[in-house]
Symmetry: C2
Subunit: 237 residues, 2 copies
Amino acid sequence: MRLTNMFGNIYYICVLIYNMPTQAKENYLKAIYLLSRESIDVSITELSKKMNVSKPTSNNMVKKMEERGWLLYEKYKPIKLTSKGEKLGALIVRKHRLTEMFLSKVMGFGWEEVHDIAEEVEHISSIIFFDRMDKILGFPTLDPHGSPIPDREGEVLKVNYLKLGSIKEGQKVKLRGLENSSKDLLLYLNKKRIKLGTVLLIRHIETFDNSFEVLLEDNATIVLTFDVCQSLLVEEV
Amino acid sequence: MRLTNMFGNIYYICVLIYNMPTQAKENYLKAIYLLSRESIDVSITELSKKMNVSKPTSNNMVKKMEERGWLLYEKYKPIKLTSKGEKLGALIVRKHRLTEMFLSKVMGFGWEEVHDIAEEVEHISSIIFFDRMDKILGFPTLDPHGSPIPDREGEVLKVNYLKLGSIKEGQKVKLRGLENSSKDLLLYLNKKRIKLGTVLLIRHIETFDNSFEVLLEDNATIVLTFDVCQSLLVEEV
DNA sequence: CATATTTGTTAGTCTCATCTAACTTATTAT
DNA sequence: ATAATAAGTTAGATGAGACTAACAAATATG
């Protein structure tokens, strides 16, 4: 973009924004960051799948991001974020999760509604906007799905929850987070009246299909498939 | 973008978003809409200036927008929005002004801070996001600068304020809106403790330079240049 | 080990939004 | 009325982000 001041001098904005990630690059960065955090090796193919683009597209993008100093890549080896890339990625996730929290706590959206909106809001560049959300929310450390919100330096609180699937019969646990926050899972949990903080007592584990019979605080008994149990992160109480 | 489902079927998203305005087109649409509302003839050159782009760029954009059915254009004649373009433009302004209101009333930003953030937020496509803002704000009709917020159909409340510059000596008026909401003007008004609703009594108009000597409710007397007076929209009380 | 499969790369194309240089067509001023 | 100025257009280029088709290289499998 070109700007002209009152004396006719011309300025090119592209110089100023040269090193800022575009919306597309922010999305790639976020994807790589999140996959790395899950200890998944990020290959070109993996990234293509995650981003729903062709392999040449992500290949090309990875090269550009390497030039920017955000990551290191060698053929057939996993993509590794540099500290700069790591921090940038964390700050995008921070914007995303702060937004989700704001949408949930301040604007009254359900935990199944917040992701899609946050996906758009996270690309807003204004820093004061997110700092204000943070302040209004009282500097939260977890988002509505129990995932940690990176701090302003991109540092992430280490949480150590267990998958419900690894809990033994008879134990009592509290839901603390989700391994995957798909809308389908969230709607299913809504229907079962399970939310973060809900206490679950494991009554019985069916050896045939590994399904869990769980007692809720309101004395309702529900059956959860093993798949669902692997998506629920809990803490013993 | 390409999506593949679990059976390997491929879907192309481009078909779905074909007719949605890109962020750039939304900005052109908004600029044309706002200039038209101020009864300014929008020429290719005018639009280039407003958008800080070259003439071929806006020329090219106008042709594309005409193809989309958002406007009508003939060489050397002013650009005219179609009803479709008018509505789209109004809805972008609606998002912008609702956001400004939300930033001001809910998030506590000053009226001089809201514009730049809203400039980014207005491009978010989620409808429920803006509807929720609207609801939380109690369906406001005016933004923090006194400009009307178009309704969901793109209809705008007709307001009929006067420029302070056209008011006679001795009259008492209330500030209702601003002709231009530049940050400089807003900061200047902050310094003078003038905000929407402030009552101003015109003590004296200096014939030499048309400056206004104005008495505020707290009995402070301030002098406003004619230029500033032309930017203040008032109502007699 | 040889072949099949997966992974990654090259080359070339496309659209969008931008630019400059050079040109044409109106409008304005002398 | 003509020259100067302003407005608009054409042509060609660029960079970002996407694609396909075809090929190369590494890994896995029989």
